[in-house]
């Protein structure tokens, strides 16, 4: 029989243990942070009716959906984000769930886009949302959660940029350009990339506005400095518009509340130039960048929306949420050498030395696990050198070596793999405490 070539599809990848171990740790950290704020987990099907998925999407999203006809002749698709399933879920279950409804959802999504370096057709999204409230407290909490996530993952130097769509919308209203927000935002989004002059020109053309209007928009986007200074500039720059004023007030409340919630002020930046591509945000918006690696872009973004599930239900469901870019963060942590490299989750390795004592190795390992020490026993009684090579290459911290002599004398040898230090430790199955203490000293 000829062999089938083992391979993965283009744009898809295997996760080997050395990558999957920190990836699982990241997901677990995120869960713990979400839970600590009372966000509850949900899960939804991978496959949905195509009409449910493509209901509100753009043409581009639609093209990217993995779609097919199932055996029952239904048109189905694989979810391409966690927001559309959340909207469908909320519309379907909100009567049982009640509001406010706080959920997190960590799950893969699929997009048939052209694969690029660091971008895959299957990737995990990690979202949290609070639905059914317009309270600024939920906005503040979202900022605190983002701070908590990055901090718990191990980052110290990062910046959460906050803005409120109402500020720019208010200015446009003041300028008589209320209906021009989409082309204006689209041009403004390019400011950092193409510079002031080209942005102004493009804005005038795209939105059919005059240069003084473009100038007023750019002046707003260029408000810079610390939060206090920006808050003092904004009323004038927005021409005293009322909508803008209420937007500024909300931004101030969010800023102040986040600091009260323990977010260090130097991690917060009021940035009225950020817009986020999605049309669906209507209030506050967030982006988060790593100070040591700003080029990778935002690692946690989100914002407030007026109505989550309008295409599925008449119930008005405002909310706020954000999405942690898990795989982007992993790549960043790899670049910043923040990832462990072990390919085993267990720190302690037990060499299998003498077949006559097989059940003793097993019992010793069981004793260590009972004491909370993760322990692997090598399965084959091979030469010690081969076993220790395996232990080294997998990144174990300590190895336990015992042959007939050691067992008969109620002791084992403990080897610290990084330093090659060896110690003889008294051990019997009835009195494992010395060994547990010695290992805890090495492993922790």
């Amino acid at each position: 029989m000829s062999l089938i070539k083992p391979r993965t599809l283009s744009g898809f990848r295997d996760y080997l243990p050395s990558v999957m171990i920190p990836r699982e740790a990241l997901m677990q950290t995120a869960r713990e942070v979400f839970r600590s704020y009372g966000f509850a987990p949900i899960d939804t099907p991978t496959l949905e009716y195509l009409e449910v998925l493509s209901g509100k999407g753009s043409d581009e999203t639609d093209r990217q959906i993995y779609r097919f006809q199932d055996n029952g002749g239904r048109e189905v698709g694989m979810r391409f984000d966690l927001t559309v399933p959340l909207a469908r879920f909320a519309a379907q279950h909100i009567g049982v769930l009640g509001t406010p409804f706080k959920r997190y959802h960590i799950a893969p999504v699929w997009r048939g886009e052209r694969p690029q370096k660091g971008r895959y057709r299957e990737f995990v999204q990690c979202d949290f949302d609070t639905i059914g409230t317009e309270s600024v407290l939920a906005d503040i909490e979202a900022v605190a959660v983002i701070n908590g996530l990055l901090q718990a993952i191990g980052f110290d130097r990062f910046t959460i940029s906050i803005n409120n769509r109402a500020v720019l919308t208010g200015l446009l209203e003041h300028l008589g350009l209320a209906d021009k927000s989409v082309p204006v935002l689209r041009s403004l989004d390019k400011l950092a990339k193409i510079g002031r002059e080209k942005t102004a020109t493009e804005m005038c053309e795209a939105a059919e506005i005059d240069p003084s209007q473009a100038e007023a928009v750019l002046k707003l986007a260029e408000c810079d400095g610390d939060a206090e200074s920006i808050f003092s500039q904004l009323p004038e720059v927005t021409g005293g518009n009322e909508l803008a004023a209420s937007g500024i007030d909300r931004l101030q409340q969010i800023y102040q509340g986040a600091v009260a919630s323990g977010v260090p002020a130097n991690r917060l930046k009021v940035d009225v130039s950020i817009a986020r591509g999605l049309d669906y945000y209507t209030g506050v918006i967030f982006e988060t960048t790593l100070d040591d690696l700003p080029t990778i872009g935002s690692v946690c973004s989100g914002g407030r929306y007026d109505n989550l599930a309008g295409i599925y239900t008449k119930q008005h469901l405002p909310g706020i949420g954000a999405s942690l870019g898990l795989d982007r963060l992993l790549a960043a942590m790899e670049q910043l050498n923040l990832l462990p490299t072990a390919s085993t989750p267990a720190p302690v390795f037990v060499a299998y030395f003498d077949k006559d004592f097989r059940d003793d190795y097993l019992r010793l390992a069981a004793n260590l696990r009972t004491a909370g020490i993760k322990t692997e026993v090598y399965p084959d009684a091979k030469k010690l050198g081969a076993q220790l090579k395996y232990a080294d290459s997998h990144g174990f911290t300590a190895a336990i070596i015992a042959g007939g002599n050691e067992w008969n004398e109620s002791r084992v040898q403990v080897k610290t793999l990084a330093t090659q230090d060896k110690q003889d430790i008294a051990y019997s199955h009835e009195s494992p405490d010395d060994l547990v203490a010695a290992l805890n000293a090495i492993v922790n």
Copy 2:
């Protein structure tokens, strides 16, 4: 615009928080047990080349694969189990991974079978395997892992049945029926359901054997009693066949090693009648049943196989593994009232009483989180009754209530929701220790 009906596909389901909370806890417990033995996590793509997926499957499996042509014209399918992807993964990466390779994989799989009560087209599998060793130590460890899983999940009364395919194969060899194992096994599998007589008749017809041969097979399957008694009967019942003798010896080693590893002997049952449907097991096989709910069938099954990835690589990869029936266990736990019912992961609820003190509620909650207490703040300053109703219905344990008076007097009220007990506790943002202590006493 007309609304799109929010609904899920037949055979698929949403997981609401009250179900997803224990489901996530179950998965986390499984991960911890796997890791404690040095099993490392991996992940593989949801979509694979169809030829990779259907390479070794039966016709029935093939029919159940969700398959389609992707945008690039490739024939692809969604994985229907985690074993085929493991085989492909091992064939592709074993050079980097080395052996022994110990992995766990917890991930959804999809099967387009007719939906039935309690069976879904999308469900999570939870597998562990040790690849690249024939050592009995790996077999013993598999039994210890199964015991560790069930115990950590919270079960006390369960039975791990173990058998070795070599025992029956040896008997068939002795009877001159070595080539009849498939029809004999298929008939034998029905013993419990259709009884001795009908099984014998069917076996004679299906395998074209004579009644005395069927009698010998049934006599083996009916060996009963404690392990010692079974081990003493088996040599005679298998006619002294050598292959059977080595199979019996291995079973004895597994039994003895498992007990040495801390598996209580009363949870182990040597049962030479179990066969497992899959042809691909060649050595020891396991099934696990809950003593209080035997009718739901095996909740953790597996066994040893000769060669994992023969259709993808010439490298011989023997191994052993098992699969935890996560969703079946969840259903069992629900029936046995072992599941918590809360729809929040946080035990402490903070009522939002007085808008003037918004940032104080936030800071108090931040202080509790720092002390490790998961805490939710209600986002809207609604009437207290409505807030406490929300707290009750979500299953919070304690509520913190503070209005202007309390804040000004540096105290808060703590209400134990189950008993309606109230306490006044001194609290200031600088000295949260009394409150932390009071809550820990209620929550833990």
